[in-house]
C-alpha cells in the first residue's frame, strides 16, 4: 500500500442526483491507489470546521486520474462541499482504510448490498469484481423512488432494487429481496446503516456464509492515531489489545463475524 498524503485536488464536476445526494468528481493522484471500500477525507474550507470528512470512494478512473464521491449533505461540512463548482480547489486526505477483499469473491456467488448512502461504494466494488471476472448481484436499498446510481451499477452486474415504500422494485429492504426472490449468496459485501448491517450479520450467520461489512463512526484523524472511531471486536486485535479495532485503519471493512455491532 502506498503512503497516505494530504494533497490538493480539483473539482471536475458536481451535480445533485437525488434530494440531498451529490455526485462529485475530483481530479487527484489519489486515484492511483484507490480501491473499492476505501475512503478519503475531504476538508471544509471555511476555517472553523477543521476535521476531514470521511467519505467513501464511489468510483475510480485511473486513466483520467480522477475519483468520484457520492455523498449526502449531513451537516455544515458536506453542505459546504455541495456548493463547490468545477475548478474549485480542495484538499483531500487519502487513501484511507482497508477496502473490500475483491479476491474473496473469485468464483463465488457474490451479492453486494448497499443501503441509502451506503450504495456509492458498491459501484467501484462491482467494477473491480467485474474486472476480476466476478459478476455480482447488486441490491441497492432506497427509501423511495428517488433512485441514484442505478444505471451505473447496471453496467457491472444484475441490479435488484428494494425500496422501503415499494415504489420501485421489491417493497422492503435488501434482505427482503434476498428472501422474496430467493437469491443465493456465498459471499455478501455490504455498506449501509447499522440496523441493516446487524441484520446482514445475523443473516450470514444463519446461512453459514461470509459477509464483509463496511462500518462508520465519528472520526477525527482518519489515520489510526486518535483512537476516536473504534468498534468492538470478537478477537483481540494486534493493535489495541483490548478488542477495539480502529474503523479508519483496521476497517472500515470487517468480516461480520469479527465485530460486535
Amino acid at each position: 500500500m502506498s503512503k497516505k498524503a494530504k494533497i490538493k485536488a480539483k473539482v471536475l464536476s458536481q451535480k445533485m442526483i437525488a434530494p440531498d445526494i451529490y455526485d462529485m468528481w475530483f481530479s487527484t493522484e489519489l486515484s492511483k491507489d484507490a480501491h473499492a471500500g476505501q475512503f478519503i477525507g475531504v476538508y471544509p474550507l471555511d476555517g472553523a470546521h477543521l476535521l476531514p470528512r470521511p467519505i467513501s470512494i464511489c468510483e475510480v478512473d485511473r486513466e483520467q486520474s480522477s475519483l468520484r464521491i457520492v455523498y449526502r449533505v449531513a451537516g455544515q461540512g458536506t453542505a459546504e462541499f455541495s456548493t463547490w463548482k468545477e475548478g474549485q480547489e480542495a484538499e483531500l486526505l487519502g487513501v484511507l482504510g482497508n477496502g473490500f477483499p475483491v479476491d474473496e469473491g473469485k468464483g463465488k456467488k457474490v451479492v453486494l448490498m448497499g443501503g441509502g448512502i451506503g450504495i456509492p461504494p458498491m459501484l467501484q466494488l462491482a467494477k473491480e469484481l467485474a474486472a476480476a471476472g466476478t459478476e455480482a448481484t447488486i441490491i441497492p436499498g432506497y427509501r423511495d423512488d428517488k433512485l441514484f446510481l442505478k444505471e451505473d451499477l447496471e453496467k457491472y452486474g444484475r441490479v435488484l432494487v428494494a425500496t422501503e415504500d415499494g415504489s420501485v422494485g421489491t417493497k422492503g429492504n435488501v434482505l427482503t429481496v434476498m428472501n422474496e426472490l430467493q437469491i443465493e449468496a456465498e459471499v455478501i459485501m455490504a455498506c449501509g446503516p447499522m440496523p441493516m448491517l446487524r441484520a446482514i450479520k445475523a443473516y450470514a450467520q444463519e446461512k453459514g456464509i461470509t459477509a464483509y461489512i463496511s462500518l462508520e463512526e465519528r472520526m477525527a484523524c482518519g489515520v489510526g492515531a486518535c483512537l476516536g472511531c473504534v468498534c468492538k471486536t470478537t478477537h483481540k486485535d494486534h493493535h489495541s489489545h483490548v478488542n477495539n479495532a480502529r474503523i479508519c485503519t483496521d476497517g472500515p471493512v470487517f468480516d461480520a463475524r469479527e465485530v460486535e455491532i
Binding site: 472553523a48 477543521l50 476535521l51 486526505l93 477525527a220 492515531a225 472511531c229 483490548v242 477495539n244
Partner: protein, 301 residues
C-alpha cells in the same frame, strides 16, 4: 543559528514535540512526517495494563476545535515496551512517554518499567478529563499533585514532566506544587472540559457526555496559562494548546515555554509538526535571531 533547547539535562534538536494522544507512538504519522525532524515524540498515555477506553462516539467537532473523550485507551506497558519503543528508537528524535494510571501504584509501576528503557523523559498525565478514576483526580488539587509528583520522583530514573490541567482555579498554584515536589518540568495545557449537545436528537454528542476541548479555539487560554505558569516557577515549561503553525508556536515561546507541542492540529494537517519546525527557523532568520533562547520568555513586558 541554534534551535536546540535543553530541558532537565535532555537536549532536543529543536523545541517542537507532539502532544500526547494526538500522534499515537508516531507510527501512523510516519507516512506524512520525517520523525527525525522532530525535537521529541511524546507518546499516547500508557498504563500498567491495557485500558479499553470509553464508548463511542468519542470525538465531536466544535467551532475551531474538537472535543474528545477517548478515555486513554492503550495497550498496556508490556506491548508498549515491545512494540512502540523499538519503533521510535529507529529515529533520531527523543522519546517522551506519557504515563497514566488509576492509582499512584499504577503510575509507579509504569515509571519503574520504563526505568531501563531508552526513554528520554516521562510525562505524567494527571490531567485527562475523560476517565473516572485517577488522572485528573491527581491534578486538580495542589496537595494531591504534590503527593503523586514526589512519589514518582522517588522511583523515576528519567526526568519527570508533570502535565497540568487547565481545569483549575489557579494554574500557578499547581505549577508551584509540581515544582516543590521535585518535578523537572511541567507541560500545559491539557484539554479544557467541554460539552456538545445535538439539538436535533436532543442527545449528547459524546457518549461520555463531557470531553476535552482542543484545537485553535483554546489557544489564547493556553498562551495565558503558559505565561502565568512560566513566571511562577523556575523549572522549564512545555507549552501546548491549539498550535497550528509556527506563528502559534512562537507565541508560546515568547510567553515563556521552553518547548512546544502540536496536538489536535495533527488530525487536521498531518504535516503541522514539521511545518512548525521549518517556520520557526524561517522566523529566526527573518528577525536575525541567533539562538532560540532569545525567544523563550521574550515577550516585552
Amino acid at each position: 543559528m541554534n534551535t536546540k533547547v535543553t530541558i532537565a539535562g535532555v537536549e532536543f534538536k529543536n523545541p517542537v514535540m507532539t502532544a500526547s494522544g494526538t500522534f499515537g507512538s508516531g507510527m501512523e504519522y510516519s507516512d506524512f512526517v520525517d520523525l527525525n525532524k522532530l525535537g521529541a515524540v511524546v507518546t499516547k498515555g500508557v498504563a500498567n495494563v491495557p485500558w479499553p477506553g470509553n464508548p463511542v462516539p468519542r470525538v465531536a467537532e466544535t467551532h475551531g476545535g474538537m472535543l474528545n473523550a477517548i478515555g486513554l485507551q492503550n495497550p498496556g506497558i508490556d506491548v508498549f515496551i515491545e512494540r512502540d519503543i523499538p519503533f521510535l528508537k529507529q529515529f533520531d528524535t527523543k522519546i517522551i512517554v506519557n504515563v497514566c494510571g488509576k492509582s499512584v501504584e499504577d503510575y509507579l509501576e509504569v515509571v519503574e518499567r520504563l526505568g531501563d528503557t531508552d526513554v528520554a523523559m516521562l510525562e505524567i498525565n494527571v490531567s485527562c478529563p475523560n476517565v473516572k478514576e485517577g488522572a485528573i483526580a491527581f491534578g486538580q488539587k495542589a496537595d494531591c499533585l504534590y503527593d503523586i509528583t514526589s512519589q514518582i520522583k522517588k522511583k523515576a530514573k528519567q526526568p519527570v514532566i508533570m502535565k497540568l490541567s487547565p481545569n483549575v482555579t489557579d494554574i500557578t498554584e499547581m505549577a508551584k506544587a509540581a515544582e516543590a515536589a521535585g518535578a523537572d518540568a511541567i507541560s500545559l495545557i491539557n484539554t479544557i472540559t467541554g460539552m456538545k449537545i445535538d439539538i436535533h436528537r436532543r442527545s449528547f454528542a459524546l457518549a461520555n457526555k463531557t470531553g476535552g476541548l482542543s484545537g485553535p479555539a483554546i489557544k489564547p487560554v493556553a498562551v495565558r496559562m503558559v505565561y502565568q505558569a512560566s513566571h511562577a516557577v523556575k523549572i522549564p515549561v512545555i507549552g501546548m494548546g491549539g498550535i497550528s503553525n509556527a506563528e502559534d508556536a512562537i507565541e508560546f515561546l515568547l510567553a515563556g515555554a521552553s518547548a512546544v507541542a502540536v496536538g489536535a492540529m495533527n488530525f487536521v494537517n498531518p504535516y503541522t509538526t514539521v511545518e512548525v519546525v521549518e517556520g520557526i527557523e524561517a522566523y529566526m532568520k527573518k528577525y536575525g535571531v541567533e539562538d532560540i533562547q532569545e525567544l523563550i520568555g521574550g515577550v516585552q513586558e
